[in-house]
């Protein structure tokens, strides 16, 4: 390593941050279960509240699954930057000289691996509970796999704006849900198309486009939001 450089290279910093966040999540692994337990509880409330009729549940399954996913994501998002803000690590990112955009991306990626991916993996169970037809199961998992990163990326902007607030988490839902509306519409549209044996590829294509767009644009907004919150 060159003794004269004062900063580590960007890829090295990126992966160091990613590794550290995953290690921190692992140290508190029981806390990772809270959003998943929340997801299970919320989904089970629907049959309890609406009635267990299989046809009815199947009809509302795509919407219910996706709304529960949105709620669980928003709950898990609050921890994205909060501990870094509170112990001063966040301002160190700003001073480090590394682009804050890439730091935001690394943190969002870590967050998705820890909160979004389990959601995707748990979804088949929830789909069975909601009596979703098996022919739509693959599409449902695909929509979640493609779109939960979008939720994390866009949600990170909201978290960046509210991280310095005491009750930031509550305001967060109001801020991000309007932004989630298109994702909800397209994802559930795709699952419903699969249920009706109609072509669903367009929906997945749109989600992929959304993912690429968010990957390129959202971190910039998140970095700007963090700079504002730190000031």
């Amino acid at each position: 390593m060159n003794e004269l450089t004062h900063t580590a290279s960007i890829p090295r910093a990126f992966f160091a941050l990613l590794r550290r966040d995953l290690l921190l999540a692992f140290r508190r692994r029981t806390e990772l279960l809270y959003p998943l337990m929340f997801l299970l509880v919320v989904v089970s409330l629907f049959p309890l509240g609406i009635g267990p009729g299989p046809a009815l549940l199947a009809r509302i399954a795509p919407g219910v699954l996706w709304i529960a996913a949105l709620l669980a994501t928003v709950i898990s998002l609050d921890s994205l930057f909060r501990s870094d803000f509170e112990d001063g690590t966040l301002e160190q990112y700003l001073i480090s000289g590394h682009p804050l955009t890439l730091i935001a991306l690394a943190k969002t990626l870590a967050h998705w691996l820890v909160a979004g991916l389990p959601l995707v993996l748990l979804s088949p169970l929830l789909a069975i509970w909601m009596n979703l037809p098996t022919r739509a199961m693959g599409v449902m998992v695909a929509t979640l796999a493609l779109a939960t990163p979008i939720l994390s990326l866009i949600g990170a902007i909201g978290v960046g704006l509210t991280v310095s607030l005491r009750r930031g988490g509550q305001l967060l839902s109001l801020l991000v849900f309007p932004l989630y509306v298109p994702v909800l519409i397209i994802a559930t549209g795709g699952i419903m198309a699969a249920v009706d044996d109609l072509p669903y590829q367009a929906f997945l294509g749109l989600l992929l486009a959304g993912l690429i767009t968010s990957l390129t644009l959202a971190p910039f907004a998140t970095a700007a939001a963090l700079k504002i919150s730190l000031s």
Binding site: T7, A8, R12, R20, R27, D87, E91
Partner: protein
């Protein structure tokens, strides 16, 4: 290295401190003193680039800045070794061994303990690791002596001396009585900008 002219920062539409002018040369140390609430931390954060000045300018020719603030930026759920290793990988040159740095900070005994279990003084020492892990021109230290015992204070002074000898500049904010015995030391006192003060 650092030239500051007519620097002001407003919060709630009132200036935090009266306009500031000063210079910091390479090898110099600037001590910032003042009563509680007169803006020492604000000034440090302005110099660090976290805050943007309301009026005035900061011109810096420093290659790199290291900042140890009031918030220590260490993770409670990681051990000392893991914390130091992260700072090395994220910020530093990587040429210094983690164990060497921990030795220098006097944390060898607690190296594999979680940061949460450390005393306030030990946490402070751990936070200072970033100064040893990167070669930067400018150090910004906000209350570096707080929570440290005499040995710790001596260690900080040694670090400051080394940094000054290497041509680095340093700004230290403190409200305590200890003054680092550095040759090129200058001092400014902040005056609160509030009219009622």
């Amino acid at each position: 290295m650092l030239t500051v002219s007519q620097l002001t920062f407003e919060r709630y539409f009132q200036p935090v401190f009266k306009p500031l002018d000063f210079r910091l040369q390479a090898g110099g140390l600037l001590l910032v003193t003042g009563a509680n609430g007169c803006g020492k931390t604000t000034l440090i954060r302005l110099l660090a680039g976290i805050l943007t000045a309301s009026e005035g300018s900061i011109k810096s020719t420093a290659a790199g800045t290291a900042y140890v603030g009031h918030l220590l930026a260490i993770k409670d759920d990681l051990t000392v070794v893991e914390n130091v290793r992260f700072v090395r990988d994220f910020l530093g040159t990587g040429s210094r061994a983690v164990s060497e740095v921990i030795e220098q900070l006097g944390l060898r005994r607690v190296a594999h303990q979680l940061a949460r279990t450390l005393s306030a003084g030990q946490r402070k020492r751990c936070a200072l690791a970033r100064l040893l892990l990167c070669r930067v021109d400018l150090w910004l230290l906000d209350e570096p002596y707080s929570n440290l015992d005499d040995e710790g204070i001596g260690m900080v002074d040694r670090l400051l001396q080394q940094h000054s000898d290497n041509g680095g500049g340093c700004v230290v904010a403190t409200h305590g009585n200890h003054r680092p015995p550095i040759a090129g030391r200058t001092e400014i006192q902040l005056i609160s900008g509030h009219r009622s003060a």
